[in-house]
C-alpha cells in the first residue's frame, strides 16, 4: 500500500502546455503514472502529449475521470488554479509552483475549510509512491518500492535522502514533499497521520528545516499518536537568524524556529535524530534492523 497516490490515481496536469508542465507531465507518464488529462484555459479541445486538454478542471474531471491534479501554474495565477480545483471537488491537489503570495494562500486555506480536497504544497516536489505513481518533479529512478514513508519540507535534500535509502536497499512506501512555504496545504502532522494508518509503512523519515513550528507539532503527534519509529533530520543549524534561506518559510523568527529547538522537541518525543544530513540513510537502516 501507499498513501495519497497509487496505481488507481488518474492524474490531471494543470498547466500541461507550459514548458515545465509539459516536461514533467511527460516524465510522470514515463514513470508509469496514468496522466489522463491536461487543463489550459483557452486550449480546450486540443491534444497534448497524447492526452486531451480541457478548458476547466470541472470538465477534465467529468470527461476524463481525473481524481488528482498536479499544478504547474505560474505564481501570479496559481491560487486561482487551486481554487478552481477545490471548487470542482478535486480530491487531491499537488501544487509545485514556487512564489505564491501568502495573502493568496490565506484565501485558498479559507476556501479549503470544510471541503473534501487535500492540498499538498505549494512550493514542493510533489509525491511519489515508488513503482505505482509519480505526481511530482522528483527523479523517479532513485526511488525503490518498500515500507519507509518519507515526508519533507525540502525538494533536493529529499532526493539525496531517498538516494541514501535506496542505495542501502531500503524502499519507500510513499515520499511526500509538503513544501517550503509558510502556509503549506498539508503539514507534517497530516502526512504522519496517513503513514501511521498505512499498514505497509513500517517507519517514517521526516526532514524538517528552520522556520515556523511544524516540527514541534509533529513532535507532539509522534509522542501521543505514533507507534511507528520516526527518523528525523532538521536542516539549517548554521542558518543566521532573521534571514530567509531560499524557502519563503525558512526564516528564524524566534527561538522555536531554530533547528536546535526543533531537534530538541523531536528527540524528546522519541524520534531518532540523524547526526548529519548524509547519515539519514544509515540511521534509518539501524532503526529498521531493530524492528
Amino acid at each position: 500500500m501507499s498513501i495519497l497516490i497509487d496505481e488507481n490515481t488518474r492524474l490531471l496536469v494543470q498547466g500541461i502546455t507550459g514548458g515545465e508542465g509539459s516536461f514533467h507531465a511527460q516524465r510522470c507518464m514515463e514513470y508509469g503514472t496514468k496522466v489522463v488529462a491536461g487543463v489550459t484555459p483557452g486550449k480546450g479541445g486540443s491534444q497534448h502529449l497524447g492526452v486531451p486538454v480541457f478548458n476547466s478542471v470541472e470538465t477534465a474531471m467529468a470527461d476524463a475521470g481525473a481524481n488528482a491534479s498536479l499544478m504547474f501554474v505560474p505564481p501570479a495565477f496559481a491560487a486561482d488554479g487551486i481554487l478552481e480545483a477545490i471548487d470542482a471537488g478535486m480530491p487531491l491537489i499537488v501544487c509545485i509552483t514556487e512564489g505564491i503570495p501568502i495573502a493568496d494562500m490565506v484565501k485558498v486555506h479559507s476556501y479549503l475549510e470544510g471541503r473534501p480536497t487535500r492540498l499538498i504544497g505549494p512550493n514542493c516536489p510533489g509525491a511519489i509512491s515508488p513503482g505505482k505513481c509519480k505526481a511530482g518533479i522528483m527523479v523517479g529512478e532513485i526511488h525503490l518500492p518498500g515500507s519507509v514513508g518519507v515526508v519533507s519540507r525540502s525538494g533536493t535534500l529529499t532526493y539525496d535522502v531517498v538516494a541514501q535509502l535506496t542505495n542501502l536497499g531500503i524502499g519507500q512506501s510513499t515520499c511526500v514533499g509538503i513544501g517550503g512555504d509558510p502556509l503549506p496545504g498539508s503539514t507534517f502532522v497530516d502526512i504522519l497521520t496517513l503513514f501511521q494508518e498505512d499498514k505497509d509503512t513500517k517507519a517514517v523519515v521526516l526532514i524538517g528545516e528552520i522556520g515556523g513550528t511544524l516540527e514541534q507539532e509533529a513532535a507532539a503527534f509522534i509522542k501521543s499518536e505514533m507507534t511507528k519509529p520516526v527518523v528525523a533530520f532538521v536542516a539549517g543549524n548554521t542558518a543566521p537568524p532573521g534571514r530567509r534561506m531560499g524557502h519563503a518559510g525558512a526564516i528564524i523568527t524566534g527561538t522555536a524556529a531554530k533547528a536546535s529547538e526543533k531537534i530538541k522537541a523531536l528527540s524528546a518525543a522519541g524520534a531518532i535524530i540523524a547526526p548529519n544530513p548524509a547519515e539519514v540513510g544509515v540511521t534509518s537502516k539501524s532503526v529498521l534492523e531493530r524492528l
Binding site: 515545465e20 514533467h24 505564481p75 501570479a76 512564489g99 505564491i100 503570495p101 501568502i102 495573502a103 494562500m105 490565506v106 484565501k107 486555506h109 479559507s110 516536489p125 518533479i137 522528483m138 527523479v139 532513485i142 519533507s152 519540507r153 525540502s154 525538494g155 533536493t156 535534500l157 529529499t158 532526493y159 539525496d160 538516494a163 541514501q164 517550503g180 509558510p182 502556509l183 526532514i207 528545516e209 528552520i210 515556523g212 513550528t213 533530520f233 536542516a235 539549517g236 543549524n237 548554521t238 542558518a239 543566521p240 532573521g242 534571514r243 530567509r244 534561506m245 531560499g246 524557502h247 519563503a248 525558512a250 524566534g254 533547528a259 547526526p275 548529519n276 544530513p277 548524509a278 547519515e279
Partner: protein, 390 residues
C-alpha cells in the same frame, strides 16, 4: 523586504494612521532646516534596517535646530552597530527629524499572518515599547489577539476586543478602531508580511499615534507592488548579496566561513552548510542556484566566488531534479573558460542527466576534485579549504 521607518510611517499616514510631524534628512544642514520648520524640540533617528537603535545611540534629542544639525552630523556617514546588525554594523546615510512627543503610555499593535490558523492576526498589548516576544514570555496575558477572516475583514467587534484589552477607556477606543482598520487596510493592500506599530503612543491629551513603526513585505508579492519595490535601499544590504541579485542569483545569503557553496534547492543548500560545519569547516555563503536551466547562472555563481576574497575553495553539490546536471556541468566548463579560477573546486553531481554531466566535465579537461557523494563532497571541501589556508 524591509523599508525604513520614515517610509513605513509615510505608508501608515496614507492609511489614516496618525504619525508625528517630521521629514527625512540626508545632510546635517537639511536636519537643521527641518527642525527649524517644525519649530519645536525634535528627535533625530538614524534610518537603518535594524532594531535596537535607541540603545546603540542611533536616536538623539535636540532642543534647537543647531542641536539637531549637530546630532545629525554625529550620525550621518557613520555605521550603527546594534544587537541585530553584527559587529560590522549598518551604514547611516539619512536621519528622520521628527517632533519630540510627550508620551503618557506605550502600547503595541501589529498585523501578521498566523501560521496556525492561516489567517491575518492582529495583536495588541498595553505592554508596548519592548519586543513583543519578551512580553509573550513574561506576561502573555497582556497580549490580545484578533483573527481576521479574509472574507469578513476587520470588523469593529474585533477592534473593541483589542482596544479594551489595552485598557483604552472613554472614547479612545473609537480612535483605536479607526487606527486598527487603517493598519489592516495597509497590511492587505500592500501584501505586508508584518505591519507593526511599537510603540503605539498615547499622548498626554489622550490621542493615539505611531511613535515607531516597522513594515515588512511579502517577497513573493512584490511583482504586484512596483511602488514598494522602489523603496528598497540596497545600501542597507550586504554588497555581495546585492551583487548576487544583480546576477540573478536570488537565493544568496552571506555566511561567515571560507568555502563558497553552489547548491540546487534551499533545503539541500542549508544541509550542505550544516554538513560543512559537521566536518569542521564553514560556508562563506548559502547559494541556491534554483531550477532555471541556463549556464549563465552557474558562471555568475563563480563570479560571486571570485568577488568574495574570503573564498578559499568551492563546493558544488547538485542533485538534479528540475535542474539538469548536464546544463550545470556546461556552466562549470564555461566558467573555467571565462576566468582564472584560482581555488580548488569540489564537485558532487547526482540526479537528472548525471551521466551526461559527468561526461561533459571529464571531456573538458578542467581541473576539479570529484566527490562521490554528499558527505565526500563536504569532507573534501573542508580538507581543501584547510590546505589553502595553511
Amino acid at each position: 523586504m524591509k523599508v525604513h521607518e520614515y517610509q513605513a510611517k509615510a505608508l501608515l499616514a496614507q492609511f489614516g494612521i496618525p504619525v508625528p510631524r517630521g521629514k527625512v534628512a540626508f545632510t546635517p544642514g537639511e536636519a537643521k532646516e527641518i527642525a527649524d520648520e517644525l519649530g519645536c524640540k525634535v528627535v533625530i533617528k538614524a534610518q537603518v534596517y535594524a532594531g535596537g537603535r535607541g540603545k546603540a545611540g542611533g536616536i538623539k534629542l535636540a532642543d534647537t535646530p543647531e542641536e539637531a544639525e549637530k546630532a545629525a552630523r554625529e550620525l550621518i556617514g557613520t555605521r550603527l552597530v546594534t544587537h541585530q546588525t553584527g559587529p560590522q554594523g549598518v551604514p547611516v546615510s539619512k536621519v528622520l527629524v521628527e517632533q519630540a512627543s510627550d508620551v503618557e503610555r506605550e502600547l503595541y499593535l501589529s498585523v501578521l499572518i498566523d501560521s496556525a490558523t492561516k489567517l491575518p492576526l492582529m495583536m495588541a498589548s498595553e505592554a508596548g515599547g519592548v519586543e513583543i516576544e519578551k512580553v509573550a514570555e513574561s506576561t502573555p496575558e497582556k497580549i490580545f489577539r484578533a483573527y481576521i477572516h479574509p472574507a469578513i475583514g476587520f470588523e469593529p467587534f474585533l477592534g473593541r476586543k483589542l482596544a479594551y484589552g489595552m485598557n483604552l477607556g472613554g472614547d479612545q477606543f473609537r480612535e483605536a478602531l479607526k487606527l486598527m482598520a487603517g493598519l489592516y487596510g495597509l497590511f492587505m493592500a500592500k501584501d505586508c508580511s508584518l505591519a507593526e506599530i511599537n510603540p503605539l503612543a498615547v499622548a498626554a491629551d489622550g490621542r493615539l499615534f505611531a511613535l515607531d513603526a516597522k513594515v515588512n513585505f511579502d517577497d513573493n508579492a512584490l511583482f504586484r507592488h512596483k511602488d514598494v519595490e522602489e523603496l528598497r535601499d540596497i545600501e542597507q544590504e550586504d554588497p555581495l548579496e546585492v551583487q548576487a541579485r544583480e546576477w540573478e542569483i536570488n537565493n544568496y545569503v552571506r555566511m561567515d566561513g571560507n568555502i563558497g557553496c553552489m547548491v540546487n534547492g534551499a533545503g539541500l543548500a542549508m544541509a550542505v552548510n550544516d554538513l560543512l560545519q559537521y566536518c569542521g569547516g564553514s560556508a562563506a555563503n548559502f547559494l541556491d542556484i534554483g531550477t532555471l536551466n541556463n549556464t549563465e547562472r552557474v558562471v555568475n555563481s563563480f563570479k560571486m566566488f571570485k568577488a568574495d576574497p574570503r573564498v578559499k575553495t568551492v563546493l558544488i553539490n547538485i542533485f538534479g531534479g528540475m535542474a539538469r546536471v548536464d546544463v550545470i556541468a556546461k556552466g562549470i566548463v564555461e566558467a573555467y573558460q571565462q576566468m582564472d579560477i584560482g581555488f580548488p573546486v569540489v564537485v558532487r553531481l547526482a540526479g537528472t542527466n548525471v551521466e551526461e554531466g559527468k561526461r561533459i566535465l571529464a571531456e573538458s579537461g578542467i581541473s576539479f576534485v570529484e566527490a562521490k557523494d554528499f558527505y565526500d563532497g563536504a569532507y573534501k571541501a573542508v580538507e581543501a579549504a584547510k590546505g589553502a589556508t595553511k
